[in-house]
């Protein structure tokens, strides 16, 4: 039995996985907040446009890592493959997100002339299906986020990846980075509503981080149980200072502490709006941590070969 580090997927794919989770989750959270809470259209439109940009950039990284990116359309051939479903989810997501965001862009006076160029009946249709696009896009965003984990769990000889915990971890971490990104955005908004939403997002992010910690506990407990490639991977991570200090401490524990403090001790004051600095720090740390998680999970992937 030998354990060999996988040398196939590197930081480019980690970037794709990170941006996929971030983009999918950013859309899902902002569309749902918009639907059920209502919040200012400017912030939602920026959030949705950024989420589209994340997925476009992520896809570029995936394509750049391929040997023959120009033939990528062939990826729609085998429905047994997760990449097939990734392409389906991402494209469905793009259609829904663009349908959803165009009417929202009317909130920006500078963009008005461009939107006016769209024929009235089409604009009417987009308006009419706005809620549907929000829901459809959120579902697709969720699927994109979970797909990033499913993709790499389809590796029978990489025990550390080949577990149901990984897609769960990636989807929760993806939503946590999505909430963190929206929190970041909210600090730039001077709208009163945005600050109410910021408090909700903070709570959401804290709950997601706690969930992530629970999944991580279960995941490592499983990995350490038998002397397999999964244990070798877990040990590799335990001995990686950047993973422990960068992801675990700075990317989870510190932001959780900041958010908890903010929720319980600063939430009831009369100051109206919270100071932006802790939010900025906590959400940036969550984002960096999310990226490090993907990079290190990929680095830690070890084949267990029978020779």
């Amino acid at each position: 039995m030998t354990f060999v580090h996988q040398e196939v997927w590197h930081w480019q794919i980690a970037t794709y996985l990170f941006l996929g989770g971030l983009g999918g989750a950013t859309f899902a959270i902002s569309a749902i907040i918009h639907l059920f809470e209502g919040c200012d259209r400017k912030m939602v439109s920026v959030a949705v446009m950024s989420s589209i940009a994340f997925l476009v950039i992520g896809t570029v990284f995936l394509l750049a890592d391929m040997l023959q990116p120009l033939k990528a359309i062939y990826a729609l051939t085998n429905p047994k493959s997760w990449i097939f479903w990734g392409v389906v989810f991402i494209n469905f997501y793009f259609i829904a997100a663009i349908t959803y965001v165009i009417p929202l862009l009317e909130a920006w006076p500078k963009l008005e002339p461009f939107i006016r160029k769209i024929p009235e009946p089409i604009l009417g249709l987009l308006e009419r299906f706005n809620n549907l696009a929000a829901l459809g896009g959120s579902a697709a965003g969720f699927l994109v986020a979970i797909y990033t984990g499913l993709l790499i769990s389809a590796a029978p000889a990489i025990n550390f990846w080949n577990t149901p915990a990984l897609p769960l971890l990636f989807v929760i971490s993806g939503f946590s980075t999505g909430a963190a990104f929206l929190l970041l955005l909210s600090t730039f908004s001077d709208n009163e509503g945005a600050h109410k939403i910021a408090s909700r997002l903070e709570q959401l992010d804290a709950v997601l981080i706690v969930t992530e910690l629970i999944i991580l506990g279960a995941y490592f407990n499983f990995a350490m149980f038998l002397p397999t490639g999964a244990r070798a991977s877990a040990e590799f991570l335990f001995h990686s200072p950047v993973f422990i200090a960068g992801f675990f401490v700075a990317g989870l524990i510190v932001p959780l502490a900041i958010e908890t403090y903010s929720i319980f001790f600063r939430g009831h004051g009369n100051e109206g709006r919270k100071s932006a600095l802790p939010i900025l720090v906590a959400s940036s740390l969550v984002l960096v941590g999310g990226y490090l998680l993907r990079i290190y999970v990929l680095k830690a992937g070890m084949f267990q070969f029978p020779w």
Partner: protein, 199 residues
């Protein structure tokens, strides 16, 4: 229609690596980048003073339940009517999903640099015209001419035994059927068509 398979007799392998050389020349694989379709693993077994060296030749196992094929989004990876797992170079986008899915390290990237080097070495007569993910084909081109795979034909110690697993008269059928030869990592459920007689 056949169900081709191979048996490796680990009792006789001396680790001469003639199979790797034969495969490289037959299939124009990038030995210059140290990428091979077949490898010979040199293993130490036991604890001092009871130690010995064992050679384990390996290649694509042409799994019956084929994780690389399931992972391949483009259908480039497919199984032909004789149970041989092949890559259609034209369709392969080089996404490496198959390399991640393969539990036997049987695949590698025949990348752009390798294609250039191949052209330099073999001129117009190249078998790999574009970058793709590459793997053992049981030398389909030789089978079509009723020849054995290059590694089998070359092996001086009869370590590699090739044949139709469905043909009850074949040596591979008998060895696999009797349980004398066993596949690697059976627990994964991939049902490999390459079997090993332990040393």
């Amino acid at each position: 229609m056949a169900r081709y398979g191979m048996v490796m007799d680990m009792r006789t392998c001396v680790g001469c690596q003639a199979c790797m050389a034969a495969c490289s020349t037959e299939n124009q694989t990038p030995f210059w980048s140290e990428k091979f379709r077949t490898h010979v693993e040199d293993k130490e077994q036991g604890v001092f003073p009871d130690v010995r060296r064992v050679q384990l030749p390996r290649l694509c196992m042409h799994c019956e339940n084929t994780p690389c094929l399931s992972a391949c989004p483009t259908g480039a990876t497919h199984m032909d009517k004789n149970g041989i797992v092949l890559v259609n170079y034209d369709r392969c986008i080089g996404c490496y999903a198959c390399c991640i899915a393969c539990p036997y390290d049987a695949r590698y990237a025949y990348d752009g640099e390798d294609v250039d080097k191949e052209r330099e070495l073999y001129g117009k007569n190249v078998s790999h015209e574009m970058p793709h993910v590459d793997k053992c084909t049981f030398c389909v081109q030789r089978l079509a001419e009723k020849l054995e795979p290059a590694c089998v034909a070359t092996c001086p110690t009869h370590t590699r035994i090739f044949g139709d697993l469905d043909d009850s008269k074949s040596e591979v059928h008998k060895l696999a059927r009797s349980g004398k030869a066993q596949p690697l990592n059976q627990g994964l459920g991939t049902s490999p068509k390459v079997f090993y007689i332990p040393s």
